[in-house]
């Protein structure tokens, strides 16, 4: 239906507080363009903030990749957070509510997972971590009302 608008991935560095702000801003903008509603946008930006901070604090920095998706039925957004830090030793423990090593509330991974539709963590001790989160636009946008 539309060939345009299917932009490729945007890669953003994560190396400082200011980068976190930039990632949030980019995710917000991208989600708004894809037609996510305000609540979903807020959830996505919050998830991005949690995950990007993990990349910064635990992974020693890295990058975020934001990719718009279109499965033919609805549009979505994929966010990958990639670092080559120490990795996560016990993933199950790290995914537990309240577990923290970074002085936060321990809701980073487990909380972010609840804010998106698909969530996966690929990690190897000593090699780094890639967290991937995908969300789909919940409602069919009213692009084609009943009668034309």
């Amino acid at each position: 239906m539309q060939q345009s608008g299917q932009a490729s991935a945007t890669s953003l560095p994560i190396g400082s507080d200011a980068d976190l702000a930039w990632v949030r801003q980019q995710v917000r903008q991208c989600a708004a363009q894809l037609g996510f509603g305000l609540v979903q946008q807020t959830k996505l930006v919050t998830a991005a903030s949690e995950l990007a901070r993990n990349t910064l604090v635990h992974g020693g920095g890295g990058r975020a990749e934001i990719t718009p998706l279109d499965n033919g039925r609805t549009r979505g957004l994929r966010m990958c957070f990639i670092d080559s830090g120490p990795g996560i030793r016990d993933l199950e423990l790290a995914m537990t509510d309240g577990y923290t090593t970074g002085g936060g509330l321990g809701l980073g991974l487990s909380g972010a997972k609840r804010l998106v539709h698909e969530f996966s963590v690929d990690t190897e001790p000593g090699r780094g971590t890639t967290v991937t989160a995908v969300a789909w636009v919940a409602q069919v946008p009213a692009s084609r009302p009943g009668v034309r």
């Binding site: 239906m1 609540v39 919940a138 069919v140 034309r148």
Partner: protein
């Protein structure tokens, strides 16, 4: 033009492709009278002919590309949207995807008839091969239409589901500073999202201090529903409003206890009026009978 022996070098799909291109006008004229196009383009026959031509062109392109059986062939891309609109129109008048597909099948006979006329001797193996190729191609078209029809249906259902969600969750202002949502029916995740959003919006709009979730019309409360309720209560509290859950029928109260669901800090009242009385009382509003306290005002 007649397919002569010299053309024999061309493969069947190529021949069908050029046949479609050259006989576009005639095929379109015949198809325009077929039920599929006639019932969609009720106003103008010319429009139907144009639509048919577009489909024939697409088929010709697919034939030339040799991907006769590929519903993803790029050639179909150009007419997919048009076919989708046609299926949607048919679907709205009550046709099922199967009926629509049947109508597409009806396009085969006129096209094959024209193709046969191209051959001096329709009994040659080459003629058979071409008819077979055209039949295959039209079968693929049928699948494409079927697919677009199903998509159109899914879209329709999704739209109705959305409308239902919105209709089913009105937020009512009961009093200055008090809003309520009477929940009726099953409370699934999608629905509870809508309830939560509209309730919170109402709290802002009405500057409400109290929000009542009345579940009198909710048939069962399982742990998932309880979780939804508690989330709504927690979100309202973050915004500075107190949430009261009312209308917990005895049977539901029992289930909640038996399931071991902890409604925790959620404030509950037996009925909507009890909840309203609580909210009013907390705001220092007293309601009394006019005759009992005649001197009051």
């Amino acid at each position: 033009m007649r397919v002569s022996e010299q053309d024999a070098a061309g493969s069947a799909p190529q021949i069908v492709g050029s046949f479609l291109e050259q006989r576009k006008e005639q095929i379109a004229q015949r198809w325009a009278d077929a039920p599929l196009f006639r019932s969609v383009f009720t106003v103008s026959r010319d429009e139907a002919v144009e639509a048919c031509k577009a489909v024939v062109e697409a088929l010709s392109e697919v034939a030339v590309s040799g991907r006769l059986e590929d519903v993803r062939a790029p050639g179909f891309g150009t007419v997919r949207e048009q076919l989708g609109r046609m299926s949607a129109t048919r679907a709205r008048t009550g046709s099922t995807p199967a009926q629509i597909a049947e109508e597409v099948a009806g396009l085969r006979a006129p096209a094959v008839e024209l193709l046969r006329e191209e051959f001096a001797d329709p009994a040659t193996p080459q003629a058979h091969e071409c008819v077979l190729a055209l039949t295959l191609l039209l079968g693929t078209l049928r699948l494409v239409v079927m697919e677009t029809a199903l998509d159109a249906n899914a879209e329709l259902i999704e739209r109705q589901r959305q409308q239902l969600l919105e209709v089913a969750t009105p937020v009512i202002k009961l009093w200055e500073g008090t809003v309520a949502v009477p929940l009726i029916g099953t409370l699934d995740s999608a629905r509870s999202q809508v309830v939560m959003e509209s309730l919170l919006e109402a709290i802002v709009d009405q500057r409400a201090r109290y929000a009542i979730l009345d579940i009198t019309g909710v048939p069962t409360v399982d742990s998932l529903v309880a979780q939804h309720l508690m989330k709504t209560v927690a979100a309202a509290r973050l915004m500075g409003a107190e949430c009261i859950v009312s209308g917990i029928r005895p049977a539901i109260a029992q289930t909640i206890v038996q399931l071991g669901i902890d409604l925790g800090s959620v404030l509950t009242r037996a009925s909507l009026s009890d909840a309203l009385a609580y909210a009013l009382g907390k705001q220092g509003i007293e309601v009394s009978r006019a005759d009992a306290g005649a001197s009051a005002r």
